[in-house]
Amino acid sequence: MNDMNPSGWRPKMGGEPGGDAPGETFTGNRGLQLEEPLIFELGRMDGCGVDFDDDPGEPMAGLEKHLRGAPVAVPGLSEPETVRHYTRLSRQNYAIDLGIFPLGSCTMKHNPRLDERVARMPGFADVHPLQPQDTVRGALDVINQLAGWLIDLTGMHGVAMAPKAGAHGELCGLLCIRAALEARGDAREVVLVPESAHGTNPATAAFAGYRVESIPGTADGRVDVAALEARLGPDVAAVMITNPNTCGLFERDLKRIADAVHAAGGFVYCDGANFNAIVGKVRPGDLGVDAMHINLHKTFSTPHGGGGPGSGPVVLSEALSPYGPLPFTAKGADGVVHLVEEEDAKAMGHAHAFGRMAAFHGQMGMFTRALAYILSHGADGLRQVAEDAVLNANYVLRSLEGVLDAPYGSSGPCMHEALFSDDGLAQGFSTLDIAKGLIDEGFHPMTVYFPLVVHGAMLVEPTETESRAGLDQFIGALRSLAERARAGDEALKAAPVLAPRRRLDETQAARKPRLAWRGDRE
């Protein structure tokens, strides 16, 4: 098969050399800003960057009819080519190691390298999920210690460690609620979700088999409590609420809402994506929450790796704890932490578990990182985390008031994130122009166009690991961009012009999807 690029490395970049951009080069590189072909254009189909100790024999008799005719058609690169390919690609990424990553509601903070070292200890990284329990006591202790901290910090009763991401945790929480309702013979059909909720919330409720109804917000950016209370009834299984919410505000009336929901026989699910704003300061259990997922990568800073993995343990109230999924850890009468699987669930008083939501025991590699992070901060440090995160967000909010429109600026302090809108920019200028302008200034943009309830939303979350000097520089850049937009500086609409790529054509990507390299067939 000949589907390599015969010239070896020169990329087909689409653009013609010698275009109008200044400094056009033969290679497409610009100094240290490097272009990199695909592995399919670099590697040979018979290449290999791994040496093996000996030669395999012929496959056994009986396997002939299953054998493949030719090797899988993926190229192999030598070790130096591989290292260089991925290193060059890495330089086309923004990352928290390079600067502030102010994605509101996504929460990107410093990732300590101690946590990486810990996760790679052989007793954690190199143990199999089905080893005999006596050979993994330390790993089970990690799960149990982390679980205990999560329960203490949230003031809850139990925790399900199995969910593999925040949205998976939402699903876990709703399945616990559904199982608890079924156990009392109560077939409720509706989940109420406020307008300002994460998009995963309605999707999760639908996947758990519920009909979703939306609850409006108030003019000051919170849930309309009267509208919510008016909708409660015997058909409502749960209310899904985010607190602090996606407008960056604390839902002052959550306890009142929870009491009303409980009186109506339903449960309260809290989206815990923003727990970093209140960790150590407020325990959601005190507010009447029945289930809440905790994104370990957000509050406890496990690295997100360009999209994941995540980890979403779900803390549970006493009413829901018996319904959590298998497997889980529990301390037995012998004082030893056990892994409770199907075989032991009944014996451990957990007969109501709703089953498995994934193979194995959750994101162990994230648990070790989160535990190391929590131990590093301690009870005093975690409280400081919330305070500094909230202080930094309010500093950004107040420093930019009068420069950017802040729709809830008069609704009181924000929590961990500051919300702005595109109101007040000149005609024809949008949030996107500000965001792309930030790229040329060397920053990752904030979250844009979310929450949906605010026109042209810009949601800035600095987090506690940004210094004041760093914030001042970021604020200065935003102020400059807002002033350029207000002054009608047309050049801003072309931003970014200094990044590895200009604005990308997302419409073409969706209209004519090219999801795999087909260079050998064209």
Partner: protein
């Protein structure tokens, strides 16, 4: 508090800018009765890097790591040698500490990796396309069943008895809440996969047939025959691959007629990690792309005409479609996908083939040696790198006793099927290129002594 850059002077000045008298003024929206007056009680205060490392090292030392002993566990999680450059490259901060590529102009590194990954997975599985990874194999399996329901508008899923029981339980858990009917039974200890039973069970109500390949006992079902039977009844064939290295040796499921292929990518680059994070692989026919769950990366051009990559077809996703989305997933296993992709790039098709043949060779040696032990026999008549050993006694206590002797000797089927007495004598044994002759001899010797 080494991770916090602000000092008390910064805090005081910033409070002044904000116009607050003290920090709790910023928590004014929290009703006073719910504000904790001080650090949460019962928990220790912050600790130095050295102290945390010591604590975690002590916990790590209480585990028997796979690399330190003769090791033969599989059953959905496989140990392979991971080249040093894989871990080095995924630890580069620009990959490790990047978020989801929402701003493609400054995330081309992650996006190009995802595009390459999608192409690699599609070629490995023999499908037209693949997505940019999911949580793990078991959840990908459920998502495939849900997707087949959307495509066929049917609610009946038929799972072969060779599907990993944890995968089947995951599907059954989710189906319980969505109203799908799932049929799955435990396997018989037979050398023959349940192909005939599956083909006989397909009806015009069946949305999909789910077949693991190789199956949980290490057997190889006839996917082509099952695909034909499924298609005759308007059902889709979903193939499940828990050991992708096996595809270096045997034909890809897509080439045999599977409509959707899902799998666990942990075996390449990711490592055992006590069960997670792992890597969900998901490929399918191109015509199903708009029913596919998870993230997709697509090729496009920028304003200057240069080739570039973006996340695309997001109108299927939860942040746009809300309750009508194709899944509720809001993330992918990006870093694990990167590790997988680097490892596969180092191997290439040739290296993968050689790695699979080495693991197979070790399995042949192990099977030959173990079957020489009195009372012990081998179930399978063909396998790749995992097979089922039949013992004269319950395998669970045998595995525990072996571990006390420093041998991690396999997965007892009783661990996977606690309610199936008929399977209790079965022991799943997996090998790989890491397995040495000494390891095999150590297992056989220990097993002889335990059974004596």
């Amino acid at each position: 508090m080494r991770y916090l850059p602000l000092n008390d002077a910064d805090r005081a000045e910033m409070l002044g800018v904000v116009g607050a008298t003290n920090i709790d003024a910023l928590f004014a929206d929290v009703p006073a009765e719910f504000l904790q007056p001080g650090p949460i009680e019962g928990l220790p205060n912050h600790a130095s890097e050295m102290a945390v490392e010591r604590h975690m090292a002590a916990l790590s030392a209480r585990n028997l790591s796979a690399g330190s002993v003769p090791f033969f566990l599989g059953a959905g999680s496989y140990r392979h040698h991971i080249p040093a450059s894989v871990d080095h490259l995924i630890q580069r901060g620009e990959f490790l500490t990047a978020y989801t590529p929402y701003q493609p102009e400054i995330a081309q590194g992650t996006l190009q990796v995802l595009f390459e990954f999608q192409t690699q997975v599609a070629r490995l599985f023999g499908t037209d396309i693949a997505n940019a990874s999911m949580y793990d194999g078991s959840t990908a399996c459920w998502e495939a069943v849900a997707m087949a329901g959307r495509i066929t508008r049917r609610k009946g899923a038929l799972l072969s008895s060779g599907v990993h029981p944890h995968y089947a339980e995951t599907v059954r858990t989710m189906a319980r809440f969505t109203g799908d009917a799932v049929r799955h039974t435990a396997p018989d200890l037979s050398a023959v996969p349940d192909d005939a039973a599956i083909i006989g069970g397909i009806s015009d109500q069946t949305s999909c047939v789910v077949v693991q390949y190789p199956d949980v006992l290490g057997r190889l079902p006839d996917l082509a025959a099952i695909a034909e039977a499924a298609h005759d009844k308007g059902a889709l064939l979903i193939a499940v691959v828990t050991e992708p290295v096996a595809l270096g040796l045997v034909e890809s499921p897509g080439a045999l007629g599977a409509d959707i292929v899902v799998g666990e990518g942990q075996a390449l680059g990711v490592g055992l990690q006590f069960g997670g994070p792992y890597l969900g692989l998901f490929g399918c026919r191109e015509k199903f792309v708009r029913q596919m769950p998870g993230r997709l990366c697509g090729e496009t051009v920028d304003a200057a005409g240069k080739r570039g990559y973006v996340l695309t077809l997001s109108t299927r996703e939860q942040h746009i479609r809300r309750e009508k989305a194709t899944s509720n997933i809001c993330t992918n296993a990006g870093l694990c996908a990167l590790a997988f992709s680097i490892h596969l790039t180092l191997l290439g098709g040739e290296g993968l083939s050689r790695m699979a043949r080495l693991g197979h060779d070790r399995a042949r040696q192990a099977a030959a040696r173990l079957s020489a032990i009195p009372g012990v026999s081998i179930l399978n008549d063909a396998w790749v790198n995992e097979f089922t050993v039949l013992l004269p006694v319950d395998a669970r206590p045998v595995v525990r006793t072996l571990s006390e002797r420093g041998v991690l000797g396999g997965v007892a089927l009783g661990r996977l099927y606690p309610d199936e007495a008929g399977l209790s004598h079965g022991l799943l044994v997996a090998t790989s290129e890491c397995t040495t002759r000494e390891d095999i001899e150590a297992l056989a010797t220990a097993l002889e002594e335990v059974l004596a």
